[in-house]
Amino acid sequence: MDDHVDVIVFCCFKLWYTSCIDFCLSMITLEGVTKKYTRKATALNEINLQVDAGDFVSIVGQSGTGKTTLVKLLIAEERPTQGRVTIGGWDITRIRQKDIPLLRRQIGVIFQDFKLLPQKTVYENVAFALQVAGEHFFRIRSVVPQVLSIVGLEHRKHAYPHQLSGGEQQRVAIARSLVHRPKILVADEPTGNLDTINTQEIIDILKKINEFGTTIVLVTHNRDIVNHLRRRVVTIHEGSIFSDEKHGKYRL
């Protein structure tokens, strides 16, 4: 019985969700992007990358090769030293400070350390992303249970983050990233703190979200995940793109 309800909720959400995603071929475009933190410390060097709508791209590479810098450029936490970054047709290279919140409501981001607000419950953490966007009570009351059911955490909505396991916390973070029906979901080492079983759960949820039509950028150094996915793999080495394969494997 519960399963049926889940399926119905899921289908409704998928319909509502996919209908809202604009048709746009190139979701993320990086043209000749270089990022230097100091004169000598070059994090990214002349990166050219295009991610199409609905793609599931894994970005792999060793620690310190510039993967996290790439994520920071996508959510405008850092600005490129050179080159151009376009998200869904919006040039964010020189984005104004006051437009950054708008950008972040269109890109879902999840991190290795979950980044949940410790003083808020699961429900409040997810609702917060809607509240800051000025959404109405009624919408919040309908959207939050929907996204929580996608990640299977409806029954824990009154728990605080410290009362949850790592996998559950990451699922809350995913639910929170979905509330604005993002066109892009950027996952920066989402399974870095998780065991194999939880890792698989998170990856399955990401796949499910990708089926809705959301573009997924998965940054990881987990060999098993990448090899199982059999999707596009971009390998970064020392700040440059080392390889870009449509059905790739983890190299290096």
């Binding site: 959510i75 936490e77 919140p101 972040r104 980044k115 607000l117 003083q119 808020k120 917060f128 109405h136």
Partner: protein
């Protein structure tokens, strides 16, 4: 409107869920306000002491017993014409001799020798009070003109000159001291409050960055802290003022023994409640708001 409501809700939620931290902050604010209030008590007391000492000082002008009433009246109106003069009390010859007899009624020798004299040897006197102790010098020197030499027999100038000087130095020094102490306290209060707020914001830096990453505007991140600063200011103001009033209730009986007046301090703090509480509240609010804005600026750059 909706966002304002949410900012208030978040603020109250934050204050309650970080209860121990909120209590600590209010506690520090209360301590600072209490020390400011005790400084104010010191000021009120020194002012009062100064006033009551100054009230006891006066200059007495002794007229020659041959001076006629026209001349006396002229001097009187001349002295009264000074703006510094607060009051002039005149005692006629009869009054003076009566007072003299009263003062020496235990000494029959003096009274007997007074009786031996055929006429009243004492002249009329005039007691002058001025606004400031330093003004006496002016009054006294203005009476040292040749026309008045025959009319005025003596001035209690030489006796009081030193006392007046001393009181002047004491009061100016006390004023300078309390002013310096107030300045020092203000600086200390400023640093303690701004550092408390900085620590508070520092403990919240992760939350601030998360809120920004989720797409909150700066207003949404800062708003709750500003509302919390307002709540802290109100709470600390109310607590410190009530504590001060309770403490003064215990202190006043001892003070009234010294000055012979009831409830000096309590009355002062109740009479000036709007001024004191208002200024302290605005100062604390300004300090907490400014320091939280400054402390947050760094963490908002995400």
């Amino acid at each position: 409107m909706l966002s304002l409501f949410r900012v208030f809700t978040f603020a109250i939620q934050d204050v309650l869920r970080n209860f121990s931290l909120s209590v600590m902050t209010v506690f520090i604010l209360v301590l600072m306000l209490l020390s400011v209030n005790s400084l104010l008590v010191v000021r009120v007391l020194t002012d009062h002491a100064k006033f009551s000492i100054e009230d006891k000082i006066d200059v007495t002008i002794y007229f020659d017993n041959e001076a006629n009433s026209d001349e006396i009246e002229e001097v009187q109106s001349y002295v009264k014409s000074f703006p510094e003069v607060v009051s002039v009390k005149f005692f006629g010859r009869e009054e003076v001799i009566e007072q003299f007899r009263q003062a020496h009624q235990d000494n029959p020798e003096i009274l007997a020798s007074l009786d031996e004299l055929q006429e009243n040897p004492l002249g009329a006197t005039m007691v002058v009070k001025t606004r400031q102790p330093s003004d006496y010098q002016k009054i006294i020197s203005s009476l040292q003109i040749p026309e008045y030499e025959t009319i005025i027999e003596a001035k209690s100038f030489a006796d009081t000159e030193q006392a007046i000087d001393k009181i002047n130095t004491i009061t100016t020094n006390v004023e300078r001291f309390t002013l310096m102490l107030s300045a020092l306290f203000t600086v200390i209060a400023f640093f303690i409050i701004s550092n408390t707020v900085r620590v508070l914001i520092y403990t919240q830096r992760v939350e601030i960055s998360i809120k920004k990453l989720v797409g909150a505007t700066n207003w949404f991140v800062q708003g709750p802290y500003l509302v919390a600063a307002f709540l802290f200011s109100v709470a600390s103001m109310v607590i410190s003022y009530s504590l001060t009033l309770v403490a003064l209730g215990y202190l006043d009986p001892y003070i009234s023994v010294v000055f012979g007046e009831e409830l000096i301090l309590t009355n002062y703090f109740i009479l000036h409640i709007l001024l004191i509480a208002g200024v302290e509240f605005i100062a604390v609010l300004f300090l907490t708001v400014m320091s939280s804005l400054l402390a947050m600026r760094k963490h908002l750059n995400v």
